[in-house]
Symmetry: none
Subunit: 134 residues, 4 copies
Amino acid sequence: MAFPRDPKVLFVVSPSMGIPIYQQLVDQIKRMVASGQLAGGAPLPSVREVAVTLAINPMTVSKAYSLLETQGVLSRRRGMGMVVSQDATGTQAIRDRLALLRPTLERAAEEAAQLHIDHGAAIALFEKVLKGKR
Amino acid sequence: MAFPRDPKVLFVVSPSMGIPIYQQLVDQIKRMVASGQLAGGAPLPSVREVAVTLAINPMTVSKAYSLLETQGVLSRRRGMGMVVSQDATGTQAIRDRLALLRPTLERAAEEAAQLHIDHGAAIALFEKVLKGKR
Amino acid sequence: MAFPRDPKVLFVVSPSMGIPIYQQLVDQIKRMVASGQLAGGAPLPSVREVAVTLAINPMTVSKAYSLLETQGVLSRRRGMGMVVSQDATGTQAIRDRLALLRPTLERAAEEAAQLHIDHGAAIALFEKVLKGKR
Amino acid sequence: MAFPRDPKVLFVVSPSMGIPIYQQLVDQIKRMVASGQLAGGAPLPSVREVAVTLAINPMTVSKAYSLLETQGVLSRRRGMGMVVSQDATGTQAIRDRLALLRPTLERAAEEAAQLHIDHGAAIALFEKVLKGKR
DNA sequence: GTGGTCTAGACCACT
DNA sequence: GTGGTCTAGACCACA
């Protein structure tokens, strides 16, 4: 049990949703890194563990991890599985949390424009939704 | 009291984008109905016409129209083309423009929460993005 | 006004239903002949009149009349429009009302079999539906 | 506890008949779900398999499956094929076998009324037809 | 003229 | 392996 502490990381996926499972994992891990929930060097649960827990295909988890490795967010520690990169350029880029939020807001702005919803109404709705979140 | 001839309805699609063409058409028509640009009873350009104009396959257009028909947004006038449903429940649901915008904003709120971005910062970013739209 | 009495015949069609309009007209007229509501020699409303009343295309009415003429149910009286055939073989065949009802019941029996509904339950449901009709 | 492998599900279609092939498939699968022959979670033969077996185009099969998915009868397991929805509202509605039979019987009752056929005669004919089915 | 159906075959995304 | 998307082109039914 000399492993680097129990990685109490939990992922959630919604199968049969529009977004691919591997993509949901990638986004989720990025957000956890950005918010500091996953610090540099922190270990990630093994591919097999995630696969069993979420009842998904191991290859799907592997694809997510590989993608994040390519992007420099995760590193492969031989014999120890994946860990969050210490301060690689990849991780650096993710630290800008606003940048991660922007794409979705841009899509919302696009939709608002096409629906002829003015800025005030759109912002009001966003505020309402944010408050409803908790 | 003649019918609004020459349906000057124009669609735009971005091929080679991630979103399927038929889906782009579906979303676009829904927004046009929602914004009142396409009123109840308004005729839609024929499948062939759209296909030629956008240089896509008629079946792709047909698929979009069929989907909208099952959703109650469009009605088929046998041998006479498609028209926007008069006041079907489907169309009704679409009339609420804010409701159409909400899902995306909810996703944004969800992401903001996971990123530990506070409400003020999120709203500020949304305002910035909205202004950037034009 | 020397026309053979006002043909108080009324047709009903449900547009945007599965069954073609001309077919609905054909079936309806056959049933009216079978039940005696339209006796031999009785005049039918003109193509134009039916088309205007039901707000459908005259060609559709014409197609129904022509089909019935081919089948010997109607006859074309020059200058007088269509009338029910006096006792042509076509009309004769229609006089068997049960035969007209049979196809639909056969389809029902087919469906009941595929649904594994036994005869007793199917008949019980039919009785219930018949009583509900009035 | 292994999944019910070898889905011995067989479909039959009559090409060159009036009813579209995809519609025949849809109806057939609905009846199989209704009669319990296809339980919730049961896997369906792959699009390609059905296409080869019935010697029809994969897209035709795909269209049937897609329709049943939008109706909530089937679910897509990403990359793993289609299965019968566990207990979706769509499936639920189908479980009532009598309800599936009713529309046809109502049409028959309607026709009987228009033909002035009394209830007794109509039921007698239905019994006769049912017996003739086997 | 309208939309609907089907085919044959290619390519892509997900697991 | 799975289903999804799109194409090009043919034929049919309806009004």
